[in-house]
């Protein structure tokens, strides 16, 4: 745009002619922005409807839940379902299992993924290209294809219905290796070269220089891993036939399938199961969304 040109008569006249139009434009803009605010709030609330419904139902007494017509707002509040859920389902067990499964996979996978990525990004060796392409190919496999042989294999090892069985195949992740390799390649090399000249071992460079620099990428990837495994249904469903060794999504789905549907209890359980991920997300929303937008994967 042209800046600091002296105003001429022509400009003034043009501006005067535009003024009423601009006033109208401003009014129009104000009303569009109101309209946008209203429309987007309605869309937002509709998107949250299942979650809002879940929260309110969890606090409704049974009589209120089964009454017709259904209402969103609870007429009365109760904590019964939150007490029931611990007694009727081995909910504490499910919770602990899910924490161990999702947490264990996240920590171990971050370690192994980053080690592999360090080798691929920083240590020249013969066969690096082949390994990298191989990892990319594995990345493109749908998980469902290996599901049956994997189950069969772990079953043969006596690892079905155990937490190690759930965790071991996920201790590394092709996407994680790819993601961190890309990140490591973007890091400057000066520091580590200096350290290498000083005789530092590769392990020291990896753990002392690269890992601290990679904190934001590790945080993003860690969240991917945690959320993905916390939420996963199919894998724990296949691997554990008993609620005792299951995780929250599979355990709740099994409970829903086996009993007359008790929505109050299920909604209380669901709320408690979703809570950690939602709270986590709301806390680090910015970096999570930024990570997702830039990688566009997973």
């Amino acid at each position: 745009m042209a800046v600091t040109a002296l105003p001429t008569v022509e400009d003034d006249r043009a501006a005067a002619a535009r003024r009423p139009a601009r006033g109208r434009a401003a009014r129009l803009q104000r009303s569009t922005s109101w309209l946008l605010a209203i429309v987007s709030t309605i869309i937002g609330l509709l998107m949250l409807l299942p979650i809002i419904w879940m929260v309110f139902t969890a606090f409704k007494p049974e009589a209120d839940i089964v009454s017709y017509p259904p209402t969103l707002w609870p007429r009365e509040l109760t904590l019964d379902h939150f007490i029931d859920v611990w007694n009727r389902i081995p909910f504490a067990r499910l919770y602990i299992n899910t924490i161990i499964f999702a947490g264990g996979v996240t920590v171990i996978s971050l370690l192994f993924d980053s080690m592999a990525a360090y080798a691929l990004a920083r240590l020249p060796f013969k066969g690096r290209g082949v390994v990298f392409v191989g990892i990319l190919l594995l990345l493109m496999l749908p998980f469902q294809v290996t599901l049956i042989p994997l189950y069969d294999m772990l079953n043969g090892m006596g690892l079905t219905n155990t937490l190690p069985g759930l965790i071991i195949p996920r201790m590394t992740n092709a996407f994680g290796i790819f993601f961190l390799t890309q990140f490591f390649l973007s890091l400057p090399k000066d520091l580590e070269e200096a350290a290498r000249v000083d005789g530092a071992s590769e392990w020291r460079i990896y753990s002392g220089i690269i890992m601290p620099l990679a904190k934001p990428a590790l945080l993003t990837l860690g969240l991917f891993h945690f959320q993905y495994n916390w939420n996963d249904l199919l894998w724990p469903l296949v691997m554990s036939s008993e609620v005792q060794t299951s995780t929250l999504p599979a355990g709740l789905a099994l409970f829903m399938g086996q009993h007359v549907v008790e929505y109050g209890l299920l909604m209380a359980g669901s709320l408690l199961a979703l809570l950690p991920v939602i709270v986590f997300f709301l806390l680090i929303q910015k970096s999570f969304v930024a990570g997702i937008a830039t990688t566009g994967l997973k």
Partner: protein, 313 residues
């Protein structure tokens, strides 16, 4: 890339320097393999090997109780002649071809709307994105409840606009697929919106200014600036959405178990049923290869996109 290990000056007659460099690079290679070892061992043992095993199983009649016997192509022959397979295949394709465009178009509309500056924008962005991070298997229970014909709120509300499936949303053969599709769209629209928002923010504002000065209206600006400059994002989002929809499972398992009358049984549901309920491991493996082919091709396209992502405007 040349490695800068301090190389001693070549004094004397021996070729100590190259040899030492050779030894150093050998050491470096060994270190590299040590760093790679945990990941490679796990990937080979728990992804690559099962993958090869799946190929083998698909040519056998293995069923967990009986030892595997080689049956040649008969699983595949049975597959292509079986009504349940074609039913699941059709359901999956229909699901993918409805959910993908609906989700992508909604995501684009939401992104354009939420790229404007107004009060309450942050709330809407968070609310639309939130479904993407919660467990679909768990939130599907709330959806099933919302659509319950007797006590479900959404069922009741939809009754006001005249949509009343006779047997309830999830047990009416004509409506059940629509219900699981709705949940599929709901789950991922926020994710694709975020990708579109990132794309919108990278379009220079002066392009719009210039177009406005040239007298282009909002629709024209959208058609000739926004849409073409978002074509990269559109490709990525379409591929991601297709990959995700072809693997649809969670909400279907929870809400309908593939019913009523197998109307919502997708390929992954069929793999699960044949594999883990009928215990026909060989046959289920054969089904999984049909899925593999589709997903693999789509993933190649996605990877192609990622490689030429650094497109400048």
């Amino acid at each position: 890339m040349t490695t800068t290990i301090a190389v001693p000056p070549a004094t004397g007659t021996s070729s100590a320097a190259p040899r030492r460099r050779l030894r150093a690079s050998g050491r470096r290679a060994l270190t590299a393999w040590l760093f790679l070892a945990p990941s490679l061992i796990i990937l080979v043992a728990f992804t690559l090997y099962p993958m090869i095993q799946a190929v083998y199983l698909s040519f056998t009649d293995y069923n967990l109780i009986r030892a595997a016997e080689f049956v040649g192509l008969s699983n595949y022959v049975e597959l292509f002649q079986s009504a349940p397979f074609w039913n699941a295949f059709t359901n999956t394709v229909v699901y993918a071809l409805v959910v993908t465009p609906v989700t992508v178009i909604l995501a684009l509309l939401f992104a354009i709307m939420l790229n404007q500056a107004f009060h309450g924008r942050a709330f809407a962005r968070t609310a639309i994105f939130l479904p993407f991070i919660v467990s679909l298997g768990i939130i599907a229970i709330a959806w099933a409840f919302l659509l319950d014909p007797n006590i479900g709120l959404l069922s009741y509300w939809l009754g006001f606009v005249g949509i009343v499936p006779e047997q309830g949303w999830l047990s009416d053969p004509r409506y059940a697929m629509g219900a699981v599709m709705l949940v599929g769209v709901w789950k991922n629209v926020g994710f694709y919106m975020v990708i579109y928002l990132a794309g919108l923010q990278s379009i220079p504002v002066d392009m719009y200014e210039a177009a406005r000065l040239d007298g282009a209206g909002p629709w024209q600006r959208f058609r000739s600036i926004t849409l073409p400059l978002l074509s990269n994002q559109t490709l990525l989002v379409m591929v991601l959405a297709l990959i995700a929809t072809l693997q649809a499972f969670d909400q279907i398992y929870v809400m309908t178990r593939g019913g009523p009358f197998f109307r919502t049984e997708t390929l992954v549901m069929l793999i699960y049923r044949e594999g883990f309920q009928e215990l026909r491991f060989g046959y289920a493996s054969a089904i999984s290869f049909v899925l593999l082919i589709f997903v693999f091709i789509l993933s190649m396209i996605q990877f192609g996109y990622l490689r030429r992502k650094q497109v400048t405007y």
